[in-house]
């Protein structure tokens, strides 16, 4: 097998391609792959990595795909222009995924039969194992440096500046300086081999640009954790579950940095890894009842376990912030794949009549913003607030606007009656709607020696928190909770509307991690003559803008990442929209939704239903 087959004309693309790394879990590839993505970003070209990993520590297949897009498309595109095939287990599938004219990079130490290759792709072999074995004797070094060696070879093939990677290696091993030189050495082993033996660069190239600007590169879970620090959270209780664990871990990391007394080492925070999700939400409710800002981070199975407590917090009106980093359900489902399938289960969590506030961040920037805002909302509304991330946003690093904070901003602790107010004789009824917004006053335990104490309970009660099963008192309370939910409509983040350049009779509603794919899909649809107005929903209950948007359009596509169209159901039930008007566009195989999928599905239905007067395609 020659090192390279030149009979196929490879794709020619600058700053616009997809590279996919097929690796074995636990082989240490993640760090090298991440260096690859960050080097491209440092060259000023937007790159969006996605880690596709198994529920496993070692041995199962894992992929890392990097979309390079100078145009700034951050969504998943689908297909691979260059496959770095390092995993024999998935070889056939990986090779099949390469687009015609694409490239296959592989370890050519052992010859493979011709039947293992395709005729319509460019094959690039580098004897990685042979290079490693001749350089290193320690098996672990052979394994780890193999990753850096392929990174070096790729840098030559794709014209990535080696100095940028060296710089990143230096930053990564700051403080462990003796690791820098061996990594740089390995990088050049691969790079020098490629330069000496292969035609470099190939048709896919990275060219320096300035399309990144001052944006930052971070994962949504870390951003949400940072938002919680800025939002004043002091108590976090959690139970490990993919894909949310890194949120709690990031909170601890940021708290160590920002909330630890420099001289005494004392902590202005408390984090408990609870025995289960029931305990974690119980601790959050206990802490919030007692006046601390508290949160938990979990995923679908955890939400299922928390149901009873969530109902208590709704009915007894106790603030709580719950980050739900959604994964594929139902049951254990696809623990390491992404979905937006907890929308209904969170919106109506617990038995009896309940409704909850949900926030839908689209990227790490909104994870930070909503993360902080959720604590204000929880205190203001005295109710659980769900921040609905998903694995795609939560666990993947994404380019997003730099974080900003207004130092004049104050925490909104909501309606809390103080010792002074009680002393002056202010009337206190825990469930008394004094401002006609459905939100009563509360007191923290320990506030006043004689006034303001009350009994918090999950049983029904009157306006003064006295136990009562009187029908009238119960209805009075339940109606006030509905009024409070109306208030929430105007406090929660407003939807974002983006109109087509001309009048469009059709619209699309979407939310959360669908965002980058939707933005790109609109451009693809415009090329095909389909104009679309967009409404990105950022919260439930729905702002009045949502109903207005639906009313203005003949047909609405609701784009979601679940099987049943859960947001569409909420729209039909809560906004009383004719279901016929809302067409489902659903993607739920566990992979992130793509622009190509959305454009295809909408074009097919829009053109078939004839409701769209075909406008001239953009020339």
């Amino acid at each position: 097998m020659p090192a390279r087959l030149d009979r196929v004309a490879g794709l020619e693309r600058v700053n616009d391609f997809v590279v996919k790394f097929a690796n074995v879990n636990g082989s240490g590839s993640a760090s090298a792959n991440r260096l690859f993505a960050r080097a491209i970003l440092r060259m000023g070209v937007p790159a969006t990595p996605r880690n596709i990993f198994p529920s496993n520590i070692q041995g199962l297949p894992t992929w890392y795909q990097v979309r390079v897009s100078e145009a700034g498309h951050l969504g998943c595109r689908g297909g691979a222009d260059l496959m770095v095939a390092m995993n024999p287990q998935t070889w056939d599938k990986d090779v099949a995924e390469i687009v015609p004219g694409g490239y296959l990079f592989y370890d050519s130490t052992k010859p493979l039969p011709a039947s293992k290759f395709r005729g319509d792709i460019v094959v690039i072999g580098v004897p990685l194992t042979a290079i490693c074995n001749s350089t290193y004797t320690d098996p672990r070094q052979r394994q780890l440096f193999k990753n850096i060696i392929y990174l070096g070879a790729l840098s030559a093939l794709l014209d990535i500046d080696a100095q940028v990677i060296e710089q990143l290696i230096g930053e990564q091993f700051q403080g462990k300086d003796k690791l820098i030189a061996p990594n740089v050495h390995a990088l050049h082993l691969g790079r020098d081999h490629a330069l000496a033996h292969l035609q470099c660069p190939i048709g896919l190239r990275v060219r320096r640009s300035d399309a990144v600007g001052d944006r930052v590169f971070i994962d949504g879970n870390s951003a949400a954790a940072l938002g919680s620090v800025y939002g004043g959270a002091t108590v976090a209780a959690w139970y490990p579950i993919t894909p949310s664990s890194s949120l709690a871990e990031a909170f601890e990391r940021y708290c160590r940095r920002y909330r630890t007394d420099k001289t005494t080492g004392e902590k202005r925070y408390a984090i408990i890894q609870a025995e289960d999700e029931l305990a974690s939400i119980g601790m959050v409710i206990g802490a919030a009842w007692n006046g601390a800002r508290a949160f938990t981070a979990t995923s679908g199975p955890g939400i299922s376990l928390m149901q009873e407590f969530i109902g208590l917090a709704y009915f007894a009106e106790i603030p709580a912030v719950i980050f739900d980093v959604q994964r594929g359900g139902p049951s254990t489902g696809m623990p390491t794949r992404t979905q937006q399938a907890d929308v209904l289960c969170c919106a109506y969590a617990s038995h009896g009549d309940t409704k909850h506030v949900l926030l839908f961040p689209q990227d790490p920037a909104e994870c930070f913003e909503f993360g902080a805002a959720a604590f204000d909302l929880a205190d203001r509304l005295q109710t659980p607030i769900f921040v609905m991330l998903d694995l795609d946003i939560g666990m993947n690093e994404r380019l997003c606007p730099a974080f900003a904070w207004d130092d004049s901003r104050r925490l909104d602790r909501g309606k809390v009656m103080t010792q002074e107010e009680l002393e002056q004789g202010a009337e206190f009824g825990r469930y008394l709607d004094v401002d006609a917004d459905g939100i009563p006053f509360r007191t923290y335990p320990g506030t006043h020696g004689a006034r303001g104490a009350f009994f918090t309970r999950g049983t029904s009660k009157d306006r003064f928190a006295r136990y009562s099963e009187e029908g009238a008192a119960y209805i009075d309370n339940m109606q006030r909770l509905l009024r409070k939910f109306e208030t929430a409509k105007l406090l929660a983040p407003r939807p974002v509307r983006t109109d087509a350049t001309g009048p469009a009779p059709i619209g699309a509603i979407y939310y959360g991690s669908t965002s980058p794919a939707m933005d790109e899909a609109v451009a693809l649809l415009a090329e095909r003559g389909v104009a679309l107005d967009l409404l990105r929903i950022r919260a439930f209950p729905f702002h009045p803008d949502v109903g207005a948007f639906v009313a203005e359009h003949e047909q609405i596509f609701v784009v979601e990442q679940n099987r049943d169209g859960q947001l569409r159901m909420l729209l039909t039930v809560e906004e009383e929209i004719d279901p016929k008007k809302l067409t489902r566009i659903l993607h739920y195989d566990g992979t992130p939704i793509t622009a190509r999928f959305i454009a295809e599905a909408i074009a097919e239905q829009a053109l078939a239903s004839n409701i769209v007067p075909l406008r001239k395609a953009v020339p």
Partner: protein, 351 residues
């Protein structure tokens, strides 16, 4: 229960404590439990202990789960905030509350169903985390509010009122607490107030999880011959290892007993526990010996009561977490929010 509301007027000669409060100031609303219920005696003992310790009622937070026992926090300390949470989950709510404000006293009340059945997990974890709280189980070995089903502390062989025999092993809560590393373990009997009140006082002053398993007969469903949680049975089989007099630092110790029969334990806050030993070889600081003692005596059919184990210098959850000395719920923006400059620096590291 009685239908008569409590009269608002009080006797002018009622004694007052150091805060100028009478015992009535520590009471709650009228109990809705059955007349003669052991739980009401425990509520009265709590009132008694808090009054005598001069505790400001609003500095105590009462927490409970679900069940007859968990209803009782409405019947004592009416000026305290209370939280009747969900079944078996009081410990997690108390843990969160304690994290938010380390300055209040947390008094958790639970039952044998609430703790040993549905809530065994949360009970265990509150003990092993050493959350600073008083945790009282009003243990009657039966589900009262749902009318007479066995609970996980019903003794094997115990007969229900309907004549059904319990075949499952009982969970011994004091043994379990000791095994979990609890730093204060006691057993009392609702029918013995002279023993119970000092135990509650000592628990209220303890700087960690203070667990009291209080046998409290259910007059409606578990007080018949054949029951091992009836008044008669407990009185006949009660074997106290010691009698505890709680003493504040202000009180002079008078030696009424023979040398060796009294042990004085200095609590972290300087207050003293005076233990009158009833079992001469019993050592309240030896966890392993306590567990062995319990196993031996209980297998002989005795109900071992008294202060069974105490670690006066224990380190509680806040100590392990190394949280600041002030309540977390009182921290404001400057202590919580790192501000825009820190964020700019953080941004720079994310490029």
């Amino acid at each position: 229960m009685t239908y008569l509301p409590k009269p608002a007027i009080r006797h002018p000669a009622l004694p007052v404590n150091a805060l100028g409060l009478t015992r009535r100031d520590y009471e709650g609303s009228v109990s809705t439990l059955c007349a003669g219920c052991g739980h009401d005696s425990i509520s009265a003992a709590i009132v008694h202990a808090a009054f005598e310790l001069d505790l400001p009622p609003h500095r105590i937070a009462k927490l409970s789960g679900i069940g007859c026992s968990s209803k009782t926090p409405t019947y004592f300390l009416g000026k305290s905030h209370g939280f009747n949470s969900v079944h078996g989950r009081m410990p997690s709510v108390a843990t969160g509350a304690s994290l938010a404000n380390r300055d209040l006293i947390y008094l958790g009340v639970s039952g044998d169903g609430d703790t040993a059945s549905i809530g065994l997990g949360q009970f265990a974890h509150a003990m092993r985390r050493n959350v600073r709280m008083v945790y009282i189980v009003e243990n009657n070995g039966v589900y009262g509010l749902t009318k007479g089903q066995f609970s996980a502390t019903s003794d094997k062989g115990a007969k229900s009122k309907r004549g059904v025999t319990n075949n499952d092993e009982a969970i011994d809560l004091v043994g379990t607490a000791l095994g979990l590393g609890a730093s204060f373990v006691a057993r009392g009997f609702s029918g013995d107030k002279t023993q119970l009140v000092p135990l509650i006082k000592a628990a209220l002053q303890h700087r960690g999880a203070a667990f009291i398993d209080c046998v409290s007969p259910c007059v409606a469903f578990n007080n018949h011959p054949g029951s091992t949680k009836s008044f008669d049975f407990v009185r006949e089989h009660n074997e106290a290892v010691n009698h505890l007099d709680f003493i504040t630092p202000r009180t002079e110790i008078t030696a009424d007993y023979a040398p060796g029969a009294v042990e004085v334990v200095v609590q972290h806050d300087g207050s003293l526990l005076r233990l009158r030993k009833l079992a001469a070889d019993y050592d309240v600081h030896d966890r392993v010996a306590a567990m062995a003692w319990l196993q031996q005596r209980q297998s002989a059919g005795e109900i071992v009561t008294g202060l069974l184990y105490v670690e006066p210098e224990t380190v509680d959850l806040h100590g392990h977490l190394n949280t600041v000395g002030v309540p977390l719920n009182g921290l404001a923006e400057p202590e919580l929010c790192p501000g825009s400059e820190a964020l700019d620096r953080l941004n720079a590291g994310l490029r």
